[in-house]
Symmetry: C2
Subunit: 183 residues, 2 copies
DNA sequence: TATAATTTTCAGTAATTTCTGAAAATTCAG
DNA sequence: CTGAATTTTCAGAAATTACTGAAAATTATA
């Protein structure tokens, strides 16, 4: 079993990027491979194509399953497990986005909250706490925004993204209407 | 020189999170330290407070400078360089966001573009290319959106974020107006 | 239920990333 | 200029993260 040059390059690149996107090289490669491969693959095939050990494939698949990014298939008369990607590219993006929100924002927010409850003892503590509050408020806003984006359906999200900076016009308009309504 | 318990915990945490946010532990710790410390600090002081080597501080500061996140100060009669954070927390967030967009999207987009130019040779190549186009289009949209968000001023961005999923109401309204205008 | 097929686990190893200390380079006061 | 103060560089060490192979666990067929 082999991959075309183009597919091989794509898979390797996804492995490289994997670490930037929050998963390791092998996990990235397995996912990329399953995306561009129409038929589901079993762990041995994945290991052969990616030239990594069977155990590494097992761990990688486990990770992808925990992210709900792969679907398990069975082929009649074959005891092996076969895998394909689950959901659309939008689902994938949403999953990665949400997973990263959890890993990158939640722990920091809870740490900041705990420190903001304590009474500052010195002048410099007070300054530090003030700054922590600034960061907290910004991250909290980001966090809530990320959550609300995740509730939007792909179509709405797509319109919003296409609108781009045009959203500011819409916001201006909203603030005008809001003002009139409250007059 | 020492830090209060609360500040120390904050700095250590920022170091831990650093790797998730795209920079290494020491860089995260240096930045956190400078955020909560009102007065600018020199490299020796930073090294002492964080208990890392002078050379590590030097490299960390260099990194922060390349991100334009620190400002250099001089104290009369002292040849040492003193550093403080530059800009507001919003500027920091914007910088990190933009830096990550560059690192996480640009390389993948250019790889995908190059593969989409090639003519597929086999049926399975064609399938692979189709999938690569899907990913390309999604990342391209994300990329342009990220760019346009970066052009918004903090106030507009803040309103947008506070609006949260309420933005869908606004989009519905826009599509109605758009329809009327084109009638 | 026995056993063959398959998957998972995990201790040890390999690869990668980060950090250090010594030396080189730079800066600047005298 | 000179040389002391300061910063930067970088080869190797330390720490972290990822991967492998062998053995254990699980699954399913006969």
């Amino acid at each position: 079993m082999t991959l075309s040059n183009s597919s091989e390059a794509f898979v390797l690149h996804f492995g490289e990027m994997g670490s930037r996107w929050g998963f390791n090289r092998t996990v990235g490669q397995i996912y990329a491979l399953l995306v561009i491969h129409e038929e589901p693959l079993n762990a041995d095939q994945i290991g052969e194509l990616l030239r990594v050990s069977r155990s590494n494939v097992s761990m990688g698949i486990k990770e992808l399953q925990s992210w709900r990014l792969v679907t398990l298939h069975h082929i009649p008369g074959d005891r092996k497990d076969y895998f394909s990607v689950s959901g659309s590219m939008w689902d994938m993006a949403r999953t990665v986005f949400e997973e990263r929100r959890k890993r990158e924002l939640d722990p920091t927010l809870s740490l900041l909250r705990s420190h903001l409850l304590e009474a500052p003892e010195t002048q410099s503590d007070a300054y530090a706490q003030e700054k922590m509050r600034e960061i907290h408020d910004l991250l909290e806003l980001l966090n809530q925004w990320a959550n609300s984006l995740n509730t939007l359906n792909p179509e709405t999200l797509q319109s919003l993204m296409k609108l781009g900076s045009g959203v500011s016009k819409l916001l201006e308009f909203k603030s005008k209407v809001g003002r009139k309504e409250s007059e």
